[in-house]
Amino acid sequence: MRHLYTWGAITIIVLASTTGDVLLSRAMKQVGDVGRVRREAGWIAVVFRVLRNPNFLLGLLAMASAFFSLLFALSWADVSLVAPASASLTFVANAVAAKIFLHERVDHLRWMAALLVAAGVVLLAA
């Protein structure tokens, strides 16, 4: 039963954090290069622009859900299972989501990078 809970929580972590990453990435592209905005308008303007962005707030909500699912999962299973399993699945899910929703050019270099890192993370936990 604990096994089922753990993998259920891992699935929620992967879905929620991928949604969060995509929304946050979109928000920060809308805000613009933080270094440039800071030089032109100052730190306070940067913070206001980020906090007023609806994609940022939704992304934060998704990340918070992922975070609490992580806390649950960590209380049910070892970190050496939960962290690599959710991280490596999130790398692959993010590559797919970034291509579809953010129109990033995910070329063979980036696919290789995502898959190598995902496989490496699994081996670290083995």
């Binding site: 592209k29 609490f68 209380s75 049910w76 980036r110 890192v117 490496g120």
Partner: protein, 143 residues
Amino acid sequence: MTFRKYLVLAGVAILASAGDSLLSRGMKQVGAISLHHLSSVILAILNPWVALGILLLLGFFASYMMALSWADLTYVLPATSVGYVLLALIAKFLLHEDVTLTRWLGILLISAGVGFVTRGPALTSPTASDNCMPDAAAPRVQS
């Protein structure tokens, strides 16, 4: 990519792995949370390890947002996965844990992935400034 930008990426990697380790240590002290008392997860933040972990993760979040403002998601994620390698090296040389052959192989794969992605461009997605600025054709000053 400037030195400062690589520093931000390093901050993302280091703060994330340090924050996660602290959370893990804290949640082991808190113990398993029962499905009937889901609200007790809120009390977990009273544990000092969990609190410190959350503090570091806030720092991670700030640097992560900074990185996403000038680089693709599919660049930032693999590039900051050096954190896993750092964690394994800390385990080996500071905590004197045994790092097995499989783990070294994992480190090798992650490093290769980081190498692959950092060889390409950091930004390929259209940004808001490209869409909104009427003078998008004007050369932009690269920091």
